[in-house]
Amino acid sequence: MTAAPPAPRTRPEDGPQLSSVRERLWEAVLDGDEYAAVDVVLGARDAGLDEETLLLDVIGAVQQRVGVEWAADRISVAQEHATTAINERAVAALSGAGRRPGARPRGRVTVTCVDGEWHALPARLVAEVLRLRGWQVDYLGAQTPTPHLIAHVHRTNPAAVLLSSSLPTRLPTAHAAITACQAVGMPVMAGGAAFGEGGRYARLLGADHWARDARDAADLLEGGTAQPYTSVSRQAVDDLPHLADQEYTMVARSRPRLVKQTLADLEDRFPAMAAYDDAQRERTAEDIAHIVDFLAAALYVDDARLFAGFLTWTADILAARGVPVHSLALGLDVLSRQLHDFPRSSSLLEQGASALAGHRPGSPAAGPGSGA
């Protein structure tokens, strides 16, 4: 559930007033001034801006901009946490208003993030919008382990579970959550950048619905998500027969070994690396680990676009920080030597390398999923 569309929509309210509110919130957030941020939001509400617009086209848009600014290396990752915390307070200041006038009371739904997902604000915005539209929402927040989610579903019997994920590397975990919900007869609506362009991975992983953004989620729910009377019990491999080749399992399980070996091979081939200090070595190891994680995710969904999208996005991120991009290609080369016995991995690495070779670095998107 990407909170804000990448390009601002043209909406009746989207006039100079809206962009001025957005600009003032952006400044308050960047300043780390929660009081100013809260004042901007509440002031705009008192001036007649409706809450849904404030949540999605102001706070959501500002949060989107935070991601873009981080990607362009104009703010630090710690600042990103700070701005998110301030944005959360702005959301909190708006919430508790109850449903908006005219909205009729609706059923109960659960909004949650996939376990391991730290980007909770998009899900929070969805939860608040649904509340405004009359739903009784249980918002479970970031980092919700699937056993907690299922226990919650048993206790509350919601009309649907809305599952948010921004990182494609969480797709296997998202799949586990989707199948677990459906096994207890609960329909799942997936949303967020992790599920790919047009929600292609949401469909692949068997989600009952996919929402483009918060408004889409609310509209879909209003259209009705009939609770199936039959539960669907299935295993991951039933949705994804290619998992039978065990390549995903192998790559995911041997991640530490792959990283260690790749690092050692890189040092052999590039003596300059021997001069790296611990922090530099660690950063390189983290970069390799990222590549392995995205390779594993691409193996899971069997889609080269996921891996290639990550690589070109990383190239943009590196370019924005003045880091030479060729190191990425070298890493791929070393990794592919270790994985030459694995046909799907080899093919993904090959397609990734050629996507990288044909890529002209540009201004990076907010995340590896959102730019694809």
């Binding site: 959360e88 019997n157 207890v184 009377y229």
Partner: protein, 532 residues
């Protein structure tokens, strides 16, 4: 056996055929003597070439079913051998319906097993009963207070739920079915005796037949199931009644399991509420944020804990506690509850941390718990925009302070753990936080997290300090989230211990304001205004 000539005249018939077709004699016309299917079979056979004719036909004679096998004789007559097939057919029909019912029961079981929610189990029961057993179904649950939860379903229709005050005695057999005692069989009920509440809205046509069957539970009845058919449908057969009982047995077991789960979950939630870490916010001008991740994903509590006890007013210190009990899971969590309560009671003595720790120590030593604990106490007071802290560690990793410029300092306090030795020796240290500065209390689950890109490595002090050095000037929540996120990513999918962090920050903006007011006021003013 029957011999028929080319033109349909009966040439001969044996004794069995005479018994079967009473009054038929030689010379009669076939079409006067037997049902149409056999006349037609003979006509086709006599007219067409024999090869193209079907080998045999079947149909009923009287109340039995026969296969007819023709044999042509040389003179053009046909000998019809009639073989009684009735019992085989009955057996096959019984088998088919048995298979169908087994299939339905399997579907019912797996659907019901999937849910542990009472409401959903009742919906499923009513829906499937209406689909497979009757035209409509009503599930009547035991009363909650004065009202009975009722679930209505019509075939192919929506399921509706309502809580209504009903008198079960108005439906014959219902009161007994709901009591579960004495054991009652399924009851056929005169449709005229059915009160209006028992008929689902949207039920088409007048009632034809109704049965009520108990939903047997685990020791206590799970409710009753009422099946309704309209008068245009046939009445329930004995086989269907037995099947309804089998269905009810499964539904009752599932409902009981769901009810038991709900009760247990409620009890757990109530007990757990006291053990869950509190949500922290700003108190008396000081920002607090906490985050907790238990060792096991299927648990919510563990051996780490924290609390913030606000001072009686902004001129009094608030007390922050963060600690770690040896062990994991529920057992450790129970001891954290005890420590938290004891410290709460000792709040008036928070002016002297060492004394407080010694009193806690005595309380732990005299309890039956054999576990010990480490903890940090921090007393916080905001004066003129700065937060004054008194910190004491009892065998716990020392707190870290991050300054505005990103310098990270360790707070030099040390002491012995509680609950192990006759007394605690601890040293209290003071520090001051300028606006935008944060003091982080954490448990060793953070620094001892194992993982990293190459696996098996400790997160360690160095990485924690490195992470904190980027957190100068950040709000308390952001610091806590950043540290927990880095530790979680370090661990990846691996095992870990309980991990708790609490950040105490001096707010960045000098003036403190009420969230939705626009007057900048100091914390003490809030207090005075409230009192006034």
């Amino acid at each position: 056996m029957l011999v028929v000539d080319r033109d349909g005249g009966i040439v001969d018939l044996n004794d069995v055929a005479r018994t079967l077709l009473p009054g038929v004699a030689r010379g009669d016309r076939l079409h006067d003597a037997v049902p149409g299917w056999l006349t037609e079979a003979h006509r086709l056979l006599a007219r067409g070439p024999q090869e193209s004719a079907p080998g045999h036909r079947s149909g009923s004679l009287g109340d039995r079913v026969f296969d007819a096998h023709p044999t042509a004789s040389d003179d053009g007559d046909v000998v019809w051998w009639l073989v009684d097939d009735t019992d085989r057919r009955l057996a096959r029909e019984a088998l088919r319906s048995e298979q169908e019912r087994t299939g339905i029961l399997a579907e019912v079981s797996s659907a019901l097993l999937s849910s542990l929610n009472v409401t959903r189990c009742m919906e499923l029961t009513a829906h499937m009963a209406a689909d497979h057993l009757a035209d409509a179904a009503v599930v009547i649950a035991p009363a909650q207070g004065r009202r009975h939860p009722l679930t209505y379903a019509c075939k192919d229709g929506a399921v509706l739920q309502a809580n209504r005050v009903i008198d079960p005695a108005t439906v014959p057999g219902l009161a007994e079915a709901l009591r579960g005692f004495p054991p009652v069989p399924t009851r056929w009920i005169n449709p005229d005796d059915i009160p209006p509440w028992a008929v689902p809205a949207g039920f088409a046509g007048p009632l034809g037949s109704v049965i009520v069957t108990p939903l047997p539970g685990h020791g206590v009845p799970a409710g009753a199931l009422m099946l309704l058919r309209s008068s245009t449908e046939r009445a329930f057969s004995e086989g269907e009644e037995i099947f309804a009982r089998l269905f009810a047995a499964r539904a009752g077991a599932a409902l009981s399991a769901a009810r038991m789960y709900a009760e247990q979950a409620d009890i757990t939630a109530t007990l757990m509420r006291e053990l869950l870490p509190p949500t922290l916010t700003q108190v008396h001008g000081v920002e607090y944020a906490g985050s907790y991740r238990p060792a096991r994903d299927n648990e919510r509590v563990g051996g780490d804990f924290y609390d913030v006890h606000p001072g009686t007013d902004p001129s009094h210190e608030s007390l922050v506690v963060l600690g770690d009990v040896a062990g994991k899971g529920l057992e450790a969590a129970v001891l954290t509850g005890k420590i938290r309560n004891t410290l709460h009671a000792l709040l008036p003595l928070a002016g002297d941390h060492e004394q407080m720790l010694n009193l806690l120590n005595s309380a732990l030593l005299t309890s039956h718990h054999t576990r010990f604990a480490t903890l940090v106490l921090a007393s916080a007071l905001r004066r003129a925009g700065r937060v004054h802290l008194r910190l004491t560690s009892a065998g716990h990793p020392p707190p870290l302070v991050v300054r505005r410029n990103g310098t990270v300092e360790e707070v030099a306090t040390r002491g012995t753990l509680v609950g192990a030795m006759p007394s605690v020796i601890a040293e209290t240290t003071e520090t001051v936080l300028a606006p935008g500065e944060t003091c982080l209390l954490y448990t060793d689950g953070i620094t001892e997290a194992r993982g990293g890109p190459m696996g098996g490595e400790l997160f360690g002090d160095r990485r924690l300090r490195q992470a904190l050095s980027e957190c100068g000037g950040l709000p308390a929540e952001a610091v806590v989230e950043r540290v927990q996120m880095l530790a979680a990513q370090w661990i990846g999918g691996g095992r870990h211990d309980d991990m708790a962090t609490v950040a105490v920050s001096a707010p960045k903006s000098g003036a403190l304001r009420v969230v939705n007011g626009d007057v900048p006021i100091d914390g003490s003013e809030i207090w005075h205004r409230r009192k006034g």
